[in-house]
Amino acid sequence: MNSTIHQLIDNEVKSTDTVLFMKGTPQFPQCGFSGQVIQILDYLGASYKGVNVLENDELREGIKSFSQWPTIPQLYVKGEFVGGCDIIREMFQTGELKNLFDEKDIALEHA
């Protein structure tokens, strides 16, 4: 079971540049922490795919074991785990997040 869901997640993060595993959707986040990350990504003008873990219990648990990270949201950029809400916010405030997108050659609309 675990390997199948991990395979799915692996495909997801490798086939899309920026993926946010979150509660709810970008239009209707159902958790304040997921909502904060959405606001930051939208502010930077990053295009991303939101994956709603509330739609699938297996995914909700699978993403935690896949990343070895106990909480949601979780941001992946080019297949690499970046962090959860606190890390994204701190990286945004210091400018590191924008640098990361630049380094990975990901276009930002508002840059």
Binding site: F33, W69, P70, T71, V82, D86, E90
Partner: protein, 91 residues
């Protein structure tokens, strides 16, 4: 739970693991009342502010992983959300 038993446990585990210079564990559960992960008895949402020499030279993700690992039991049990501010001691 009313006596902050979960909070006490978090403080003890972090103190043992990191010998922190500064440690502040704040119960923010009241801010999330009615939220899906909140329970009426509280102690579900915490903020941890910790400064420790153990974090020197570590990336943000690595620091957060250490704190998460230390509190793995709490996170898979009563604690729904953990906000972490983990800073190195060496300036």
């Amino acid at each position: 739970m009313a006596d902050g038993r979960v909070r006490q446990e978090i403080i003890e585990k972090l103190t043992r693991a990191f010998a922190p210079e500064i440690l502040d564990v704040i119960d923010e559960s009241h801010l999330h009342a009615g939220h899906s992960g909140a329970r009426p008895e509280g102690e579900t949402h915490f903020r941890v502010k910790i400064v420790s020499g153990n974090f020197d030279e570590l990336t943000l993700v690595a620091r957060h992983r250490l704190v998460n690992d230390t509190l793995a039991d709490e996170l898979s049990g009563p604690v729904h959300a953990l906000a972490i501010e983990a800073k190195p001691a060496g300036g």
